[in-house]
């Protein structure tokens, strides 16, 4: 149909405009490129590093500075730091993504239900949210991780369960504004139930906000994973940047001057978190034209 192709063209143009906006925004561009780089390395890493990174080396291989054969040197077990770093990026990014997913789902559901229902339900849910918001998250995570045991899945759940409060707050306030729209009243008048309205009318309208918020949560989730692992609550069976920092600290790499051991994972965490944060702010600006600088 002619109308269809026009529509498809319009949509294509819209996507192009969005891409152009992202490209024009230096922050967004930088963030996206850095993140894509890390994701590609995490996916294709095993192809780049030919040997198993968790294999212990000989005594003479331990804590060697960068040099031929080991671009970033070796750690206290004689493992290649670059290989370990790449293996670690998979876990760090996976934990970040999954924990963010959990946090986003919980935060969005609680925010929408709370904002739409109002009254007692709103009060109860928001008091629970306040609890998670004001409680110092680090001790809470540490306690939870210690109780649940050190497994990567537990870490994901713990981070997800402790980081949704901010999303819930933001989504709730947006829901309060969306539900006052007349189309919500109209949907009530056609005989729709609350579930239908929340799913089909409120959610699509608060989604841009959820999206921008998600990117910022992802940054926090990766920091949290690093923190927990650094404090020794990580999963020893899986390499992650936090575990590297943990081992580097334990073996005294910082005091012996083995910078090639602790600097790379630290910088990686900083780079990924920075990329997420820049992207989050940039998308917020693109999706929310009111914030645009003049």
């Amino acid at each position: 149909m002619a109308g269809n192709s026009v529509k498809a063209k319009l949509r294509k143009r819209k996507i192009k405009a969005f891409v152009r906006q992202v490209l024009a925004n230096k922050m967004a561009l930088f963030g996206t490129v850095v993140l894509l780089l890390f994701i590609l390395v995490a996916i294709f890493g095993p192809l780049l590093v030919p040997f198993s990174v968790l294999e212990f080396g000989e005594v003479e291989d331990m804590l060697n500075p960068p040099g031929p054969g080991h671009i970033l040197g070796t750690d206290d077990m004689g493992r290649d730091v670059l290989g370990y770093l790449i293996a670690g990026s998979r876990i760090s990014l996976l934990v970040g993504a999954l924990a963010t997913g959990i946090s986003m789902v919980i935060g969005t559901v609680i925010g929408i239900v709370s904002g739409y229902s109002g009254k007692v339900i709103d009060n109860v849910l928001m008091r629970i949210t306040d609890f998670f918001l004001v409680i110092p998250w680090l001790p809470l995570m540490m306690v939870l991780a210690a109780i649940l045991g050190t497994s990567i899945w537990n870490i994901i759940v713990v981070i997800g369960v402790t980081s949704w409060a901010g999303t819930a707050r933001v989504v709730r306030s947006q829901t309060l504004s969306v539900r006052e729209n007349q189309f919500v009243e109209r949907t009530v008048s056609i005989g729709a139930g609350s579930g239908h309205i929340m799913l089909h009318h409120i959610l699509p309208n608060v989604f841009p906000l959820v999206f921008a918020n998600t990117i910022l949560i992802a940054a926090a989730a990766i920091t949290s994973e690093t923190t927990l692992s650094f404090l020794g609550l990580g999963d020893p069976a899986h390499a992650s940047w936090g575990m590297m920092l943990h081992y580097a600290f334990e073996t005294g790499a910082t005091s012996t001057g083995a910078w090639w051991y602790f600097l790379p994972p630290g910088l990686c965490v900083v780079a990924v978190v920075l990329a997420f944060t820049l992207m989050g702010y940039a998308f917020d600006e693109i999706l929310n034209p009111k914030l645009k600088e003049r």
């Binding site: 149909m1 109308g3 529509k7 729209n181 007349q182 189309f183 009243e185 109209r186 949907t187 009530v188 008048s189 056609i190 005989g191 729709a192 139930g193 239908h196 089909h200 009318h201 699509p204 309208n205």
Partner: protein
């Protein structure tokens, strides 16, 4: 059996300053296929009366008395589940300002078929077919079902709202100022459309407006509201040619006569009363040029002045 019988309806709003009597002792009825016009100034209780029928009042609003028999069954004591079932199949609403009554991130077709899917448990394909038929019925090309509200013009949105209201073949359709936000040309189109559909589908209709001229063309009878009460009701002919209540007369006087001499319409001095603290007696007395002592102390009874023409006024001339 009448389609709708509203008896002594009282709908009050709880506010921080006390009870606001938005609708106070209002009665009217409607036969199948008949059209009633509710007219009055802003805030006189037109919309509240209509929303009471669908039990769609804001949460501060409470129906404190009366009876609303829709198709013989009272909706006031009905539980929420029954209301949800009856909404849109028994009574549907065309909302004021279609611009805001459509969800901006959902296609128009989807919003129309929403009600069909909800009520008739129809499959997506059946709902889509019916949606296309409905769009054709309101003179919108059916392939526009996949467009978003911002791709529609104001008049088209309003027509889409009408299509939506017809989705479940309701027995009663309430138009809450369906043409207020539109220009005169589109207004005429929409009204003609409504009139045509009402006759073709023989639905009952309640049209809410503050524009008396609209009602003359589209309705069978008119109820004039003032400060939460119906002050005069009768056939279109009764109201336009034999208005009894001073308020109705002044309301008609507010419209310039096309054929008469050029003159600025009189208007009505003063403001609608504060419903939190309505004047005693007849609520219109502070603005009525014929007001007497009796008007200030006693609420006038409704009297039948011939046929179905009923008026609530103390004036002798009005009651004869």
């Amino acid at each position: 059996m009448k389609l709708l019988e509203v008896n002594n309806l009282k709908t009050y709003f709880k506010t921080s300053k006390g009870m606001l009597k938005a609708v106070d002792d209002v009665s009217f009825d409607l036969e199948h296929g008949e059209a009633l016009g509710l007219v009055g100034e802003s805030g006189c209780g037109k919309t509240t009366s209509a929303l009471s029928i669908a039990r769609l009042l804001p949460k501060e609003g409470r129906i404190v008395g009366g009876q609303i028999l829709l198709d013989g069954r009272d909706v006031i004591p009905a539980p929420e589940s029954e209301l949800r079932r009856r909404r849109w199949t028994d009574v549907s609403i065309i909302f004021q300002g279609a611009m805001n009554a459509l969800n901006p991130v959902m296609t128009v077709g989807k919003q129309i078929s929403e009600a069909i899917v909800l009520h008739e448990k129809a499959s997506e394909a059946d709902a889509l077919r019916k949606t296309k038929d409905l769009l054709e019925l309101v003179e919108i090309p059916s392939d526009r079902y996949k467009h978003y509200p911002h791709e529609f013009s104001g008049g088209m949105k309003q027509r889409a709202m009408i299509a939506m209201a017809l989705a479940c073949d309701p027995k009663l359709i309430i138009g809450d100022e369906p043409t207020t936000a539109l220009d005169v040309m589109i207004q005429a189109q929409i009204l003609n459309l409504l009139e045509r559909l009402r006759r073709e589908l023989s639905m009952g209709m309640i049209l809410i407006t503050h524009d008396l001229a609209i009602l003359g063309e589209t309705c069978d009878k008119i109820a004039v509201m003032y400060a939460g009460k119906i002050v005069e009701t009768g056939s279109v002919k009764d109201i336009f040619e034999d208005a009894r209540h001073p308020y109705t007369k002044r309301l008609i006087g507010c419209f310039p006569n096309v054929k008469g001499p050029k003159a600025v319409p009189d208007g009505i001095e003063g403001f609608p009363p504060n419903l939190l603290d309505p004047p005693g007696g007849c609520a219109f007395h502070p603005r009525c040029e014929f007001a007497r002592d009796l008007c200030q102390v006693q609420t006038p009874e409704s009297v039948n002045v011939g046929g179905k023409h009923i008026v609530a006024c103390h004036l002798k001339e009005a009651r004869q």
